[in-house]
């Protein structure tokens, strides 16, 4: 392959569905992994791989706009639609990002020793920073997915217990994701009962679920894999129901 002609020619555009996003993300990952493989091979021979670096930089920037920013606006919808599929997409993103971080770490050592251009060194620093920022974002997406699962479980449980009300939907504010105690917002028809009384009844039941969960999970320590943690499901507590 002629390194000068190397181009990943990525075509990811704003996508709407989780399925389409997963496909396009996989396309990104495959092409970036190919680029990393080529860069490793050429670096062994001390070639200038700045072309590949420029493409990786372009790819990371597009990835930020088309995947990370897009997920940022749709993560709760996707997790609500299919939490399992969203989880799989996130685990693939997390793994790929870890590979990139390790690769940039190796490259830093090589670049130090060799006569690579200033431009290449700058690109490497930028790529490294971008990947570390992505890691934080991916962790946040993982946390939100767990919160969504928790919210849905609570909503379903309340729906089963309170058969006299017609439950419509639930919501939580993702601005509250890192608060210890969150509010579960519910939309329901309560047949004209005082709203504050209905809230009190539902909150009482919600708190009993939370206590049960705390008892059941107190001895479980979830593993920390590749710098990502998965303990949000144990740490998320909805402590109050609010009708909105």
């Amino acid at each position: 392959m002629d390194i000068k002609k190397f181009s990943m020619s990525l075509t990811l555009i704003a996508t709407l569905s989780l399925h389409a996003l997963a496909d396009n993300t996989n396309e990104y990952i495959d092409k970036e992994q190919k680029a990393i493989k080529y860069a490793k091979e050429y670096l062994v021979d001390n070639h200038d791989v700045s072309v590949i670096f420029k493409e990786l930089k372009k790819s990371s920037e597009q990835f930020n706009d088309n995947v990370i920013k897009f997920l940022n606006s749709k993560i709760t919808d996707f997790a609500k639609e299919d939490s399992q599929k969203t989880g799989m997409l996130l685990s693939r993103l997390a793994l790929h990002n870890e590979i990139k971080i390790k690769f940039y770490k190796e490259l830093k050592k090589i670049v130090k020793k060799n006569k690579f251009t200033k431009n290449m060194k700058e690109n490497l620093i930028l790529l490294d920073h971008l990947s570390k920022d992505f890691k934080k974002e991916i962790q946040r997406f993982i946390d939100i997915t767990y919160i969504e699962i928790e919210a849905k479980n609570n909503f379903k449980a309340l729906e089963v217990i309170f058969t006299g009300y017609q439950f419509n939907d639930y919501w939580y504010s993702i601005s509250d994701v890192y608060l210890d105690n969150m509010v579960l917002f519910l939309s329901l028809n309560n047949n004209g009962e005082d709203i504050f009384d209905t809230e009190d009844k539902l909150t009482k039941e919600l708190l009993s679920f939370q206590n049960l969960k705390k008892d059941m999970t107190k001895d479980i320590t979830l593993p920390n894999i590749g710098g990502f943690n998965f303990d949000k499901i144990n740490k998320t507590h909805f402590i109050r129901v609010s009708l909105i």
Binding site: S73, S175, V183, I195, R240, L243, I244
Partner: protein, 128 residues
């Protein structure tokens, strides 16, 4: 009447009027209109609370929204004030969504319920 309380009542009346099925607001989509109503309901509540906090009315420093939150939290051992605190917090969350988070999911709110909750507080004779 206290001008803050008066403004609070004007805002709630405005929301009530805008929610009438006979009112048609041209050139504005349903979601934008509802976001605007949520914002007005929040400010109705904000002004109703500040109406009873003369020191805060005169204050020229700090964020009055977070100061109200802190005052309500401090007094929330009283059940009636705890309720005001919760509604204020919830309306603030919704208002932040309505005014500043165009990309965040739309909550499944019911404007009649929000209106009822805010009215119940705005129409109280005394909050503290």
């Amino acid at each position: 009447m206290n001008e803050y309380k008066e403004y609070s009542e004007t805002l709630t009346h405005c929301v009530y009027t805008m929610m009438q099925p006979t009112i048609i607001v041209k050139n504005i989509d349903k979601l934008s209109l509802e976001k605007s109503l949520i914002s007005r309901l929040y400010y109705a509540l904000f002004n109703r609370i500040i109406a009873e906090l003369p020191k805060l009315q005169l204050s020229t420093t700090g964020n009055k929204h977070s100061q109200i939150n802190a005052i309500l939290l401090q007094k929330s051992s009283n059940n009636s004030i705890k309720q005001v605190h919760q509604v204020f917090n919830d309306m603030q969350t919704l208002r932040i969504w309505a005014d500043y988070k165009p990309n965040e999911s739309t909550p499944p709110y019911n404007l009649n319920i929000l209106q009822t909750k805010v009215y119940a507080i705005v129409n109280r004779g005394k909050l503290f």
